[in-house]
């Protein structure tokens, strides 16, 4: 049983560019949340998707957007990259109707130069 998978593992971009990160949830899960984790910090909630709609959103600018597909996989898009966007981006999945247990993928390390 595959857990949460994310791609790519690492990514290097320059300021102003755009990036797309991908996530496939754990089997049986239909809800995907995205988190940003700066070095030495705890994860910060970006947004959550269920039934292909954004259900919750954290305190992140509109440069951060997402999408969920019918197979429950999800994308995180970040436009006009800033140096401060450098972080580990984590995807977590859960079952909407279940407990609040969220399972995380290995993350995508984004470096903005």
């Amino acid at each position: 049983d595959a857990g949460v998978t994310q791609s790519p593992t690492h990514l290097i971009k320059t300021r102003g560019q755009q990036v797309t990160l991908r996530c496939s949830p754990k089997s049986g899960h239909d809800t995907v949340s995205w988190y940003q984790q700066a070095l030495g910090q705890g994860p910060q909630f970006i947004f959550q998707y269920y039934e292909e709609e954004e259900r919750q959103r954290g305190n992140f600018p509109d440069r951060f957007s997402g999408h969920q597909f019918p197979n429950y996989s999800s994308e995180l898009n970040v436009n006009a990259l800033l140096l401060g966007d450098s972080a580990l981006y984590l995807c977590a999945s859960q079952a909407w109707g279940g407990t609040n247990e969220q399972f995380f993928g290995p993350g995508t390390r984004l470096t903005v130069l």
Binding site: P43, Q56, N100, E101, Q102, F104, G105, P106, G107
Partner: protein, 112 residues
């Protein structure tokens, strides 16, 4: 404003000892309290979680103690091993929105 306050920031324990990490929260709507373990370069892994209707939950060497009146909860790692060396995060969320609010983390080092 940090809604979930975690302490200590770092902890050094001898092999076989007990590691204790504490968290406090403000929002009384929180009703789910998980602990995650994270190794460098990896995503957080769910260790154990508790709801406020119980005061303690044990899974193997890991125990959560929960004090609803004090709005505090703690993680105890019994018989700590060098392989437990990692960063530990507490978190909290209300069932209503499933959004996890995280502590700042505790870096645990277990000396052999």
């Amino acid at each position: 404003q940090q809604q979930v306050k975690q302490s200590p920031q770092s902890l050094i324990v001898q092999k076989g000892g007990i590691s204790i990490i504490n968290c406090a929260y403000e929002n009384t709507a929180f009703d789910y309290f998980p602990w995650y373990q994270q190794f460098p370069g990896k995503g957080p892994a769910l260790l154990i979680a508790i709801r406020p209707d119980v005061s303690e939950k044990k899974e193997g060497r890991f125990t959560i103690s929960f004090n609803k009146s004090a709005k505090q909860f703690s993680l105890h790692i019994m018989d700590s091993q060098p392989g437990d060396s990692a960063t530990y995060f507490c978190a909290a969320s209300p069932q209503s929105n499933r959004k996890l609010i995280w502590g700042l983390g505790t870096s645990l080092a277990v000396n052999p």
